[in-house]
């Protein structure tokens, strides 16, 4: 059985599941951002797999580049916010930042 669409979808599914687990369990803000990056990467693998095996056009690759661009913007803003939290709370544990909890 040669490598087909399903192989890439399964790899992407595993990446997504691990990213979701990372986001759900981590209490370190940077760890959560890492989980988000895993999820974005799995979405990109899907885009490119469908682009190659289902359409044969380049639209999927263009979308993947947009996703990478937004991930870069998200990482820059997210890490700036994390640094701001660290300067305020002296920790980046997200359970310590509960000032707004009612």
């Amino acid at each position: 059985m040669s490598i087909g669409l399903a192989h890439y979808l399964i790899v992407s599914l595993i990446l997504f599941a691990l990213g979701l687990y990372c986001v759900l369990t981590r209490r370190n803000a940077i760890g959560i951002l890492m989980g988000v990056e895993l999820i974005l990467n799995s979405a990109n693998v899907n885009y490119l797999a469908f682009s190659r095996f289902s359409s044969g056009q380049y639209d999927g690759q263009v979308f993947a580049i947009f996703v990478i661009m937004l991930a870069a913007a998200e990482a820059a803003i997210g890490l700036a916010i994390v640094l701001g939290i660290y300067q305020t709370f002296q920790t980046i544990d997200v359970e310590a930042t509960e000032t707004l909890r009612g």
């Binding site: 599914l13 940077i30 947009f66 937004l70 870069a72 820059a76 640094l83």
Partner: protein, 170 residues
Amino acid sequence: MSGLGLGDLAFYIVAAVTIISAVGVAFSPNIVYCAFSLLGTFMGVAGLYVFLAADFVAVIQVLIYVGGILVLMIFAVMLTHRIADVRISNRSVGRLPALIIVACVAGVMAKAVLGTGWHSIAPGTPSPSTYAIGNGFLGDYILPFELASVVLLAALIGAVVLSRKELKEE
């Protein structure tokens, strides 16, 4: 062709590297190990892009994810922990409920992946994709492309404003 060809073997190796590194990111108790596992994941995903005949996206992945985002993350890890703090905390809570949720979501998605008859065509021979992507950016996708530059500028200014030190006027 019967049996495991060289290309198939290479795919399985790259996929294994990607997934094992991702397991390291999700389960490692040390945030620094997580960051370096993320390196393996990003490089493995770039390898998958090469298998998918997306040479330009693979190079972009290495340049932006490995060269930009990962370095940024390692900087943030180093800046937000006291260096003398040997055991860098990376607490995980609620492992069991999270595992159950992830198992349910992954089960539904696996059923969808394996049970759907995806429209599939015979993949063409890999050819350089840069020309077509450039045409797409300046043709059909000109508006998202221009908006992307605005988003990046806003993100740049926002990150600077968020992370600078306030200078108090005397």
